[in-house]
Symmetry: C2
């Protein structure tokens, strides 16, 4: 008998009928002999409704009170789902975050989970109940209600699974798993049966918004096996695993991308220690997050060129800061480009296989796609290209690495 | 500096604008130098909305889960009111029932408060905050969320006032106080400045639905001075007091009435010990509440007649039970009447003044109103009359005891 934590998001519990469908799904898991803890979000639309009430009072409501308000959203869902389970003969008990001792820090609206005491949940499971827990919320050391911020229910589920040493944490969403890339861009995109944690982190942070990145990190830290699957269809989804048993085969997991990037370049700055800090310090002080950073050394002239990317929304602000910096550094020129995207090839396999980068560049070159920036890590290669090449670039790489094949390509460089 | 507990019901906090108005009212009390604890209900309509969701799942939702669901209603209000207070520069902190240790028994949906630990509230008050507490809810000894049943917020407020030894508990409603009778029936009805607890209990239980009867009992038990006043208008309302300083003047506080009564009679039953139990036992077993009970002894025939009243909704069921009893007791006859009402004269003054009953009967007789039953207690006299005499009876008594006068009538028999 396995212990499973299942998490259902707002869309999955968005109506009474959907809550009833979730209850049936939970019941089937019980009938397979598993113990089940269910973590739920607020019904879709509810959090926005509550925020709407709050902002009628003040545009920036007291953070502590906003948490008291928003936490009611999940509380409504846990009660309704427990009723639905009881109604079909599946005993269930609901708990708020505070009731099952989800301890967080005191950072209202974006709290982080510090500890969970699973004793009460375990007692109910042992007594044969399904336990339904409100995601997204907890209480701090003084018993004040806190919330984890949007999407925090994934983290709640993983933390609960870690505390209970659950056999698997299943995240039910409106997609049926993790794909090699976004099927809206490449219809031949293929659902992955498994993906490693590191790959998932890269896929998630690069725009495949299936899972909250913090939840994946949490799962990695506590080694909680995580599975992404559909609330609405049957199927085994995608298992996110620690095992890299077939790493020798050098698989590419998929292609992630980030739209809405922008690129800034400062040319001809003195090539001396501390120049990177002088350029990026003011950007960071302006609360702008930087993604890729590239510095080209031009030793002969004792100057260097420096390029970085930011979210497109921050572009104008970043250009202003950078122009100011350019003056104080006597830089030759500042330039920027708002119409770029980032495309990344992700896979643990590439660690040991140098040929992947060249295959990637070759494929893009054949299509006449000019690469504007390149950045690499252990398990990914990212290129920045003009916005207009997003779809073509993704499809080209998907083809080049045969990601639509039944199993992914074995790359032997 | 006084410590005041203020309670605002669902209508008083029914919209964002009304919540803002309540915040202003609370702020004014703070500015007068008082410490304020506010107890609130769910926004009007919210409890019904939540029940509507639950009954889409099952007609009789799990009581424990219904409490988890319904308690979110007040939680939304405490958050919004605290935001509104903070927004106008009046520091406030909100708490659910569980957070301030409102301990109840485990009778879900109709729990009773056992204890409140005021320590946390007191600490916030000492720090200069207004404390906003969710009414209607608490947690049992195992930390399960409970609710007190409809109207329970009044009880929450009184219990909080008792725990904090508050100087006054103010119940804000949509009426500006307690009246000598219902102004919709007698336009000359007059607002009372004060009323004793015993009188208020009789007025409340007899249909003047200003305050929850349980809250009044609670206030009496813990000697909490209670004041009923309007959320929407200025004014001192009605103080419910323990002092009977002018009891010698034999005041009549007011006239209460109960519509929707029904009367059942069993004639010619053996006049022997235990017959009352034989008649009322089966009624009670059928979960029917009995109000007035009268037995007329007819010693010569060794039989007796027995009459009692029930709520009109229970009439048919009660008749069925009574007919069954009549057979086993060989009673002569069973009869009933669904079209009766009860009118009661309430006042601590009547304890020592026998003339009041005769004045009451005389006034009714003059108008040709036939009295069908009479029942008396220490501080009230109730008569049952035909339904059609309700308005006439109330107005006649209101006049006879000059309740519209500037001060009420001094009765000297």
């Amino acid at each position: 008998m396995a212990l499973i934590v299942q998490k259902y998001g707002g869309t999955s519990v968005g109506t009474i009928d959907r809550i009833k469908a979730v209850a049936e799904k939970v019941k089937r898991a019980r009938e397979r002999g598993d113990s089940v803890v269910v973590v739920v979000s607020a019904m879709s639309g509810e959090t926005d409704r509550l925020i709407g009430l709050a902002t009628q009072i003040e545009s920036r409501p007291t953070p502590r009170e906003l948490d008291v308000l928003l936490s009611t959203g999940e509380q409504v869902t846990i009660a309704l789902l427990s009723m639905a389970l009881n109604a079909i003969g599946c005993p269930a008990r609901s708990y708020t975050g505070g009731q099952v001792q989800v301890r967080t820090d005191s950072a209202h609206n974006k709290a982080r989970i510090r500890a969970i005491d699973g004793a009460r949940v375990r007692a109910d499971l042992d007594a044969g109940s399904v336990v339904v827990v409100a995601g997204f919320q907890g209480t701090d050391g003084q018993g004040n209600i806190t919330t984890l911020g949007r999407g925090g229910s994934d983290t709640s589920a993983v933390a609960m699974a870690a505390a209970l040493k659950a056999d698997e944490c299943q995240i039910y969403t409106d997609v049926d798993g993790v794909y090699t890339t976004d099927p809206r861009i490449e219809p031949k995109a293929r659902k992955l049966d498994r993906i490693t944690f590191e790959e998932m982190l890269e896929m998630a942070s690069l725009g495949s918004k299936v899972l909250q990145i913090r939840a994946v990190e949490f799962a990695g830290k506590y080694r909680v096996p995580l599975r992404v699957l559909s609330s609405f269809e049957e199927g085994a989804g995608t298992l996110i695993t620690f095992e890299e048993d077939d790493v020798e085969e050098a698989k590419i997991a998929g292609i992630a991308f980030a739209k809405d990037e922008a690129k800034l370049t400062i040319l001809g700055v003195p090539d001396e220690p501390g120049v990177a800090y002088k350029i990026l310090g003011p950007i960071s002080d302006a609360n702008i997050e930087v993604d890729m950073i590239i510095q080209n050394v031009a030793a002969a002239e004792k100057t260097t060129d420096f390029t970085f990317t930011v979210h497109r929304n921050d572009f104008d602000k970043a250009m202003g800061v950078l122009r100011h910096t350019a003056e104080s550094l006597s830089a030759r020129e500042v330039s920027g480009d708002k119409r770029i995207v980032k495309i990344s090839l992700v896979g643990v396999g590439m660690r040991s296989h140098a040929g992947i980068a060249s295959r990637m560049f070759e494929a893009l070159a054949k299509e006449g796609i000019n690469i504007r920036m390149i950045s690499t890590s252990e398990i990914k290669i990212s290129v920045v290209v003009d916005e207009k090449y997003l779809e073509l670039g993704v499809r080209t790489l998907h083809d080049a690495f045969q990601l639509d094949a039944d199993g992914s390509l074995d790359v032997v460089a």
